[in-house]
């Protein structure tokens, strides 16, 4: 990487989109620009605020050929896609995109988010990198725009100007990495995502697939850099979107993109003001209703009318007999609900309204004994389902043999 010092002297920067490309909707341009800036704010103390008038630190415009007093010209389709100026007054920080290109929000033409993220690197003080995996490599590379585009080289570069993210508290806290096979494992939230199940814990997420034998363990930020850690609830709605909850806010996600205009307050879903957070959520896809768990209460939300059902909240203990007190996380699979509380997991049949099985939380990760292994797992659905039962069976057989031997020893001793 390369950089110019001192960069911006302030960390709270403003940006303004002076004009919009007709190639994309305004909302998509706004999102691409916001996400392009967010790429850098997730690894630095920088923050970006959008303004709609006056002079902003980063003035963003779509231009063609010779434009204004800009000393760099555009060259028509292809060739040069954009340029940006290093931090400073006047043109400093300004970012221009060649309007003669075909700008898109996906991979069809030139992805505006990727080009914008690169140009904002210049606007923040980075020059080109000769690391071909870096976002600051000068040639356009069509990456998956849903994945976080910075390489370690980019992160090292920008942090050499602005430093890393500020510490959340004065007392430095070691980031803990959860272990899938920890017998005391608890989850923050769980949701399905198409043919996957995602288990959230702190800054991390495990992904398992219904069809293949694999478990992935990733940082939440590698999928959705703008999401906070320590998510409290999540669920997949019938419209192929995930809703993620933390405190009194929720985010909506489609695929790997956090939708614009989020987070929104949970009160917009119909919760009363005194509800400050959601413990768990699960959508019953057969009736298109979502259950929200808040302490000992549960609400029911109608996904069709987008309103809370009347007659709620109800006590969890009455509505879901056997589940009892609060719920940490929940999801639905093959008609069953799976509720998680502490290190226990309850398989619940909503039609029969009873618990059909009780297991450890980590039966979805096929852990080989001893249970404290963090990486020695592979998953197949059948095996996962039978794993907890098989262990229980073996333990019972061992106990039975031990008891018989013990009784025989006592008998013979007399």
């Amino acid at each position: 990487y390369g950089y110019t010092l001192p960069g911006w002297r302030r960390h709270n920067l403003t940006y303004r989109i002076v004009n919009y490309t007709p190639d994309m909707s305004r909302a998509d341009v706004d999102e691409a620009i916001r996400n392009g800036l967010e790429v850098w704010s997730t690894v630095t103390p920088l923050t970006f605020t959008k303004t709609s008038r006056g002079i902003a630190d980063i003035m963003i415009a779509f231009r063609t050929r010779v434009h204004g007093r800009c000393p760099r010209y555009f060259d028509g389709p292809l060739g040069v896609l954009g340029h940006a100026f290093p931090p400073g007054l006047g043109l400093g920080g300004d970012t221009h995109f060649d309007e003669d290109e075909n700008w898109t929000k996906d991979g069809a033409g030139f992805n505006l988010f990727l080009v914008a993220a690169h140009e904002f690197g210049h606007a923040l003080g980075l020059s080109h990198s000769n690391d071909q995996t870096a976002l600051m490599f000068p040639n356009y590379v069509s990456l998956d725009p849903n994945k976080y585009p910075l390489s370690q080289d980019d992160i090292n570069g920008i942090q050499s100007i602005y430093g890393s993210l500020p510490k959340a508290s004065a007392k430095p806290k070691e980031p803990t990495v959860p272990h899938a096979c920890d017998p005391d494992l608890t989850f923050d939230a769980i949701t399905t995502l198409r043919r996957e199940v995602m288990f959230f814990k702190g800054r991390h997420v495990w992904r398992i697939y219904y069809d293949i034998t694999d478990v992935e363990f990733e940082l939440i930020s590698s999928f959705w850099p703008s999401l906070p850690m320590d998510i409290q609830a999540a669920y997949e709605n019938p419209k192929d979107k995930i809703l993620v909850f933390k405190d009194d806010n929720f985010w909506m996600i489609r695929g790997y993109a956090v939708l614009p205009d989020y987070p929104k307050p949970i009160h917009t879903l119909g919760f009363p003001r005194h509800v400050k957070k959601i413990d768990a959520a699960v959508c019953d896809h057969s009736i298109r209703k979502t259950y929200f768990f808040v302490g000992i209460w549960c609400w029911r939300f109608d996904e069709v009318t987008q309103t809370m059902d009347k007659g709620y909240p109800r006590r969890v203990v009455k509505y879901f007999p056997g589940i009892g007190l609060r719920v940490d996380a929940a999801f639905q699979h093959k008609g069953f609900f799976y509720f998680f509380r502490g290190s226990k997991q309850f398989e619940y049949d909503p039609k029969a309204r009873n618990i059909t099985r009780m297991m450890k939380t980590n039966t979805w990760f096929q852990c080989k004994e001893p249970l404290n292994s963090s990486s020695d797992f592979s998953v197949s659905e059948e095996e996962v389902h039978s794993g907890g039962v098989a262990m229980f069976y073996h333990k019972n057989v061992n106990l039975l043999i031990f008891s018989i031997v013990h009784v025989l020893k006592i008998t013979y001793s007399y």
Partner: protein, 81 residues
């Protein structure tokens, strides 16, 4: 399918010169008397560009160098200014 890229160095040399003048501050003098100086300057800038992109440094316009030159890119020079 895209048409086959023309690899005649003489035909692609204007493109290479334009690229190097845009991104590597190549300034070719017009006089015929300075042809050898221009050639040396061009080779030098080409080497600089090839080194930056991790290409084999030859100073000659080969297919890999031309491929990089024709790939869409950011308009901030790699060196200078």
């Amino acid at each position: 399918f895209p048409t086959a890229r023309n690899m005649d160095p003489e035909e692609n040399m204007p493109l290479a010169q334009a690229y190097l003048s845009q991104f590597y501050s190549l300034e070719i003098e017009g006089s015929h008397l300075v042809q050898s100086k221009n050639r040396s300057l061009l080779d030098s800038k080409m080497r600089e560009m090839q080194a930056f992109f991790g290409l084999t440094v030859t100073g000659q316009l080969d297919s890999n160098t031309l491929a990089i030159m024709t790939t869409p890119r950011c308009g901030v020079p790699d060196v200078g200014q």
